[in-house]
C-alpha cells in the first residue's frame, strides 16, 4: 500500500492500511509525552495511536486530500501541504521526533527534506525500501527489467518512487552530513531484526533512528 506516499494519487486512501512492521517499533521506542511530527502521515493511523495511547503531541503532514479527511475523522491534526515545498514553517528542534515512513523515495528533493527533518526534530525516524536487497539485484540482473516486488509493487511508469536508493547510499549520506544512526531495524525474509552488517544485501526494508552528531 502506498497511501502514505504523498505523490501516490492513484492509491485509494480509503483502503485500510495494513499496519507496517515499522509502526510497532516506533510505538515501542517513542517515550510517552513526546512531540511527534509525521511527514506523509497518510490517514493518520500511527499518529492516532501515538496520541491516544502515549499522550504524544502529534502533528501530521500529508498531501493526499482523501487521506487528510480521514485524519480529521480520526481526530489527528494534519497539515495539508506538499513536502517538496519544504518545512520552512516549522521551528528548529520543535519536535522530539520527526517520522518519515516510506516517503523519502517519493520526494523530488529528498536530501532537503532529510536535512529539514533533522533541523525540526531532535530525532529523525526514517524508513525506506532498500534497492540493494539481493532479490531486487537478482531480478534486475536476471530479467534486465525494473523489479516489481511486494515492497516495490509498481512498474517503472506508474511508480511514485522517483528516487530509489540503497541502505549504503543512505549511510554514505549520513556520514558526510554528520548524521548518526543511533538504532536500526531491518526486514529480512519477512522477519524484523536489529540492523546487521550485511543488511545492504539482506534487508528488504529498513527503519533508522537518526540524530545529528
Amino acid at each position: 500500500m502506498d497511501d502514505k506516499n504523498p505523490g501516490a494519487a492513484s492509491a485509494p486512501a480509503t483502503t485500510p492500511r495494513v499496519p507496517r512492521w515499522q509502526d510497532a517499533i516506533i510505538e515501542r521506542e517513542i517515550p510517552a509525552g513526546s512531540s511527534v511530527l509525521d511527514l506523509g502521515c497518510g490517514s493518520g493511523e500511527l499518529l492516532s495511536r501515538l496520541i491516544r495511547n502515549q499522550g504524544v503531541r502529534g502533528q501530521g503532514v500529508e498531501l493526499d486530500p482523501a487521506a487528510v479527511v480521514e485524519c480529521v475523522a480520526r481526530g489527528v491534526p494534519v497539515f495539508h501541504i506538499d513536502l517538496d515545498r519544504g518545512l520552512t514553517g516549522f521551528a528548529d528542534r520543535s519536535f522530539d521526533y520527526v517520522i518519515m515512513e516510506e516517503t523519502l523515495q517519493t520526494l523530488r528533493r529528498p536530501l532537503e527534506i532529510l536535512q529539514e527533518m533533522l533541523r525540526v526534530g531532535r530525532h529523525g525516524i526514517v524508513s525506506f525500501p532498500n534497492f540493494a536487497y539481493w532479490k531486487l539485484r537478482f531480478e534486475l540482473a536476471a530479467s534486465g527489467r525494473m523489479p516489481v516486488t511486494e515492497s516495490l509493487p509498481h512498474r517503472w511508469y506508474d511508480s511514485p518512487n522517483i528516487h530509489l536508493f540503497t541502505l549504503e547510499d543512505f549511510l554514505d549520506w549520513a556520514r558526510e552530513r554528520g548524521v548518526m544512526v543511533r538504532q536500526g531495524w531491518s526486514l529480512v525474509e519477512g522477519e524484523v531484526r536489529p540492523l546487521g552488517p550485511h543488511d545492504n544485501l539482506q534487508a528488504e526494508e529498513v527503519l533508522l533512528f537518526t540524530e545529528m552528531e
Binding site: P65, V69, V72, A73, P77, V78, F79, I81, G89, S94
Partner: protein
C-alpha cells in the same frame, strides 16, 4: 434551491423549520459597552437565533459567526420575514441552511447552535441605522467605529447573559472566520474547537483596496449626505456598485468564465450600448439590486472597515503571529480554498504555520475549488464533511 418555501405544508426533516429571532439588551445607556476605539455605546441590543437544545451540562454550544453581509438567520425559514420588513427571506432559507439542521454537518439534534448579528450591522443588532439616544435620530456616521474584537467581546457578553461559560465550537467563514480566529486568541479558555474557513490573520493590501473602492462609491453617491439619509433617498447606486465590485472578489476567473463566458443577453447580437450587454453584467446588476434591498450603506462602511483593521498578530503578539498563537488552547481547523483570491490559501496557511511554530497542533486543509472565496458557502459537501468529522467528539 428547489425547496418548498412553506415548511408548514411540506415539512423538511433536515430543516430547522420556522425560526424566530430574539433580541437581547446587552448594554444600557448608563452602563454602555466599551469599544476598542475608546468610545462607548449604549444601549446595545443584539439580535440572535438559536436552534437545537442546550444539553444539561451546557457543553454542546456551537457558535456560528457570520461574514460581512450575513445575519443571525443561519438556517430555516424566518417566521416573521414579512412583519419585520425582510421580505427577501421568504424566497430563501438562512444563509448556511445546507450545513445547519437536523442530521446536517452542524447537527442541531446534537448541538445548541447560536448566531448573533454583529454590532454595526443592520439586521436587528444596534448599528448606524439605530436611534442615537442623544439625538433621537439614527446614528449615521455618529456611530462609533467597531472592530472584530468588539464583536467577539459582545458575543461573549451574549453567552454570559445566556449563562453559557464555554463554547464547544466556534465556526465562521471569511470575516466570520476572522471572528472565529479572534475567539480562539482572545478567549482561549472558553473555546474547545475553532473552525476558520477562508480567512487569514489579516486582509491583504489588495483586499483593503477593494473595500476602499466600495466605500468610495458609497460616500460619493449623491444621496449619501454624510451618512444622514434614513428619511430620504438612499445611496443605492453607491451601495450597489460596492456590492458588484465585492462580488467579483468572491468569485474566481474560472467560475465567472464557466458561468457566463462572454455570452451576450440579446441573442448574441451586439447592442453597442452601455447597459447590461453581457450576461455577466446582468448578473452583477442583479447582485447589486438585490443587495440594496437588504443592506444599509452605513453598515457596509463600518463592517468593511472592521475587516480592514483586523490583524491577529498586531493585536495578540505585538506584530508576531507565532507569539499570538501561543495563547491558543483550542483545537483549530483552518480551511482555505484553492481559487480564493480575497483570502488566498498562502495567507490562510500563515496562521496554521504560526500555530505549528508555536507548538500548537493544527489541522490545515487546502480544498480544491473553482468557486473562489464563495467556496466556503458553495462547497457544502466538502466543507460539510470536514465540519462533521471535526465536530465529532472523539472520546
Amino acid at each position: 434551491m428547489n425547496r418548498n418555501p412553506n415548511p408548514r405544508l411540506d415539512p423538511d426533516p433536515s430543516s430547522v423549520g420556522f425560526t424566530e429571532a430574539k433580541t437581547i439588551r446587552l448594554a444600557g445607556e448608563a452602563d454602555p459597552f466599551a469599544l476598542d476605539s475608546g468610545a462607548v455605546i449604549g444601549p446595545v441590543e443584539v439580535e440572535y437565533e438559536s436552534y437545537g437544545e442546550l444539553s444539561a451540562g451546557k457543553d454542546n454550544v456551537v457558535l456560528i459567526v457570520h461574514a460581512l453581509s450575513g445575519d443571525a438567520h443561519v438556517a430555516g425559514w424566518d417566521r416573521n420575514a414579512q412583519a419585520s420588513g425582510r421580505g427577501w427571506r421568504l424566497r430563501k432559507p438562512g444563509w448556511w441552511d445546507p450545513v445547519v439542521g437536523p442530521g446536517k454537518a452542524i447537527d442541531t439534534n446534537q448541538f445548541f447552535v447560536l448566531c448573533a448579528n454583529v454590532l454595526g450591522s443592520c439586521y436587528g443588532t444596534t448599528g448606524p441605522s439605530s436611534i442615537n439616544p442623544q439625538t433621537g435620530r439614527p446614528y449615521g456616521l455618529a456611530f462609533p467605529a467597531v472592530t472584530v474584537s468588539d464583536w467577539v467581546r459582545l458575543q461573549a457578553r451574549l453567552l454570559d447573559a445566556l449563562g453559557l461559560e464555554r463554547v464547544y465550537a466556534v465556526v465562521g467563514g471569511s470575516l466570520g472566520g476572522q471572528q472565529a480566529m479572534e475567539w480562539t486568541l482572545a478567549l482561549p479558555e472558553r473555546v474547545e474547537k475553532s473552525i476558520i474557513l477562508a480567512a487569514s490573520p489579516r486582509l491583504s493590501a489588495q483586499g483593503v483596496a477593494f473595500n476602499s473602492v466600495g466605500r468610495y462609491s458609497i460616500v460619493n453617491d449623491p444621496n449619501f449626505n454624510g451618512g444622514d439619509y434614513y428619511d430620504r433617498d438612499q445611496p443605492t447606486i453607491g451601495l450597489a456598485a460596492a456590492r458588484m465590485l465585492a462580488h467579483i472578489t468572491y468569485l474566481s476567473e474560472q467560475s465567472i468564465d464557466g458561468k457566463f463566458g462572454r455570452k451576450l443577453n440579446n441573442g448574441n447580437v451586439n447592442g453597442h450600448g452601455f447597459g447590461a450587454e453581457f450576461e455577466v453584467e446582468s448578473y452583477l446588476d442583479h447582485q447589486g439590486n438585490d443587495f440594496v434591498e437588504r443592506f444599509d450603506a452605513n453598515s457596509y462602511l463600518y463592517i468593511t472597515r472592521a475587516m480592514d483593521y483586523y490583524d491577529a498578530a498586531a493585536r495578540w503578539g505585538g506584530g508576531d503571529l507565532v507569539e499570538a498563537c501561543r495563547r491558543i488552547r483550542s483545537r483549530v481547523l483552518l480551511v482555505s480554498f484553492s481559487s480564493d483570491w480575497l483570502y488566498p490559501p498562502a495567507q490562510c496557511r500563515e496562521f496554521a504555520l504560526a500555530m505549528c511554530r508555536a507548538g500548537r497542533p493544527v489541522t490545515y486543509i487546502e480544498t480544491p475549488s473553482r468557486y473562489g472565496h464563495d467556496a466556503f458557502l458553495v462547497e457544502t459537501e466538502a466543507v460539510g464533511k470536514l465540519l462533521h468529522h471535526f465536530l465529532e467528539r472523539k472520546d
